[in-house]
């Protein structure tokens, strides 16, 4: 029996806006799913479907309106902050805005040692080994400024930053959507390797959030299809993408541009 890394039960998030006439927007509507250890689970949906809200809830950036999230059996609100973030780390869409452009890249990486990783003594070695996991040379990165390296490399530095903590769960929220396809493939392959485990890390479970169905098909073991805050379909990647059940999934898949087929246009 596989271990449940993350279990989400009846999660609901309602955003409220406005002071006098408050307006409610449902971000996530009664979502439940489980992530097993050592798998990549993709959350797929169009914009506004609640994918990122789930990521923010898991990363404790926002509080759920209802429902519970359990990490390895414990409710996440009850885990001490440092312990939680040692195990669960996030990677986000925009690598460019995660850096302070006045400082060298080292600065951002070394901040990790300030609080959570205080105990590590050989910091240089820790940095070198994590940078090599993500396929970067230490000389190419350390001592440079963010504008001197490409977006794909910046994103890999951010993945390295997350890996410094030796996490067991990565929440990757659209990590490749601002990156050119020539470096995107490398990052997707990196996630696959991290799942399998490398010489430095054990296998990591990953929640991969994307709107790009091609990427989800390439990378994931299981997928969740989301629509308007609800999970409409869940299953093994092949089952969902080759034999979709839900009409929304069918419609969505029919709209995806692919080099393997051409759309039929009405002759009128």
């Amino acid at each position: 029996m596989e271990n449940e890394t993350l279990k989400i039960q009846n999660l609901t998030k309602i955003y409220k806006s406005g002071l006098l006439r408050s307006k409610e927007t449902i971000g996530v509507n009664n979502a439940s799913f489980t992530l097993y250890s050592g798998e990549i689970l993709s959350l797929v949906g169009e914009s506004g479907s609640g994918k990122s809200t789930i990521a923010n809830l898991i990363l404790r950036f926002i509080q759920p309106t209802e429902g519970k999230i359990f990490y390895e059996g414990n409710e996440i609100q009850e885990i001490p902050t440092i312990d939680y973030y040692k195990n669960v780390q996030g990677i986000f869409q925009d690598p460019y805005s995660s850096f302070n452009y006045f400082y060298r890249i080292d600065h951002m990486l070394k901040q990790a040692f300030k609080y959570t990783l205080k105990g590590i003594t050989n910091r240089r070695k820790a940095l070198e080994s994590t940078l090599s996991i993500v396929g970067l040379n230490t000389e190419d990165i350390l001592g440079r400024f963010p504008h001197q390296i490409s977006g794909g490399q910046l994103q890999r530095v951010l993945i390295a930053r997350a890996l410094l903590f030796k996490p067991k769960l990565l929440i990757a929220d659209e990590p490749t959507s601002m990156i050119d396809s020539s470096s995107r493939a490398d990052i997707l392959n990196l996630f696959k390797e991290l799942k399998e485990g490398t010489t430095y890390t054990e296998g990591i479970s990953i929640i991969f959030i994307t709107h790009d169905i091609g990427q989800a098909q390439y990378i994931s073991d299981r997928v969740l299809i989301m629509k308007e805050g609800r999970i409409v379909e869940e299953g093994e990647t092949e089952d969902v993408f080759l034999n979709p059940d839900h009409p929304y999934t069918k419609n969505l898949l029919a709209c995806v541009p692919s080099i393997y087929r051409k759309w039929e246009f009405d002759e009128e």
């Binding site: 396809s181 091609g214 995806v256 393997y260 759309w263």
Partner: protein, 332 residues
């Protein structure tokens, strides 16, 4: 004999500013035949948008035309007055939908006001003429499957896909021969993206627009509508071929690697083949290398590639033009 609607000869456009000189478009030659839907693909920073700006004859600030010619219907647009471009070319011959133009709709005015403002050049300010234009707009929007009520709405009341279709509708209002669209689908979800592409196909089928130039970094999207495609790398065209050849039989090493790096949805099976990224990064266009611009990243480079930029050769296998020394022998 097919008619060439756009002909570009050795076009050069550089950005000049305090940052130096960026050779964004550096010697592009291209001809577009009447009736084609041509895709222009490449990674960010390869000069797709700069090329589009140069084709319009009035490039954006900092981008300067540095040489070469653009002929639109045999009219050399860098030799005529700006007045002629504005009154005779834009809208009537060439409709241009710039990148992210869906955000250019005025948020505090109705679509109706925006259209009248945009069309003031053509219709003046007389109330009678205004009504004529609006009637035309309504009729035109109906053809595109947009509801009449759209013109009385504010931009925030429309979804992203609707806004993009409105912008395309406005650009094609005067039945331009050529429509130049720059990344129209990049900000859209897949379902709305399909609607927009249907709109473009509809424009072509009904004869409102004859030729479409479609700029996108997303090759699967281009594959849905384009008949021909050019691939750009670092300010130059590296390959021109039919869309099918680009996908199934690419010739230039860059095109091959680019196609191999796309995580594309396969409706018939799992994507088992491992994707390969392209190592390295594009050259700095402030200091473009002397030889082939793909040289540092190319797996099958030759010694001469370092010093000499390859001209177009006829590809060995499918006789498409390819700018690569590997195809040299065949042309002799």
């Amino acid at each position: 004999m097919t008619e060439q609607v756009i002909k570009i000869e050795d076009l050069k456009g550089y950005y000049r500013g305090s940052f130096g000189v960026v050779h964004a478009v550096d010697g592009v030659s291209l001809s577009v035949n009447k009736g084609d839907i041509m895709g222009i693909a490449g990674e960010s920073g390869c000069g797709k948008t700069s090329l589009a700006e140069l084709i319009t004859g009035r490039p954006i600030q900092l981008l300067h035309h540095e040489g070469g010619q653009v002929y639109i219907n045999d009219l050399s647009i860098y030799e005529v007055d700006e007045e002629v471009i504005r009154k005779e070319i834009l809208c009537k011959v060439l409709g241009y939908v710039p990148q992210a133009s869906l955000n250019s709709l005025n948020p505090v005015k109705r679509i109706r006001a925006f259209i009248l403002d945009a069309m003031r050049e053509r219709v003046g300010t007389k109330a009678k003429n205004k009504q004529k234009v609006l009637d035309r707009v309504v009729e035109h929007f109906k053809k595109l499957g947009l509801e009449e009520s759209v013109i009385d709405k504010y931009p925030h009341e429309l979804s992203g896909g609707m806004k993009q279709r409105v912008v395309v509708g406005i650009s094609s209002l005067w039945n331009p021969l050529i429509l130049l669209v720059d990344e129209p689908t990049s900000a859209l979800d897949v379902t709305t993206q399909q609607l927009l592409i249907e709109t473009l196909m509809h424009l072509k089928k009904t004869g409102i627009v004859e030729t479409i130039l479609f700029i996108s970094h997303d090759i699967p999207t281009l594959a849905q509508i384009c008949s021909v495609c050019i691939i750009m790398y670092a300010g130059k065209i590296v390959e021109q071929a039919s869309m099918d050849d680009i996908i199934n039989n690419p010739q230039h090493p860059y095109t091959k690697m680019l196609i191999n790096s796309i995580a594309c949805f396969n409706p018939d099976g799992s994507a088992e083949t491992r994707l390969e990224g392209i190592p390295g990064r594009p050259p700095d266009l402030k200091n473009p290398p002397k030889g082939c611009r793909f040289y540092p990243r190319c797996p099958s480079r030759l010694e001469k590639c370092k010093e000499n930029y390859p001209p177009f050769f006829t590809s060995r296998t499918n006789s498409n033009p390819v700018a690569c020394w590997l195809h040299e022998e065949v042309s002799h």
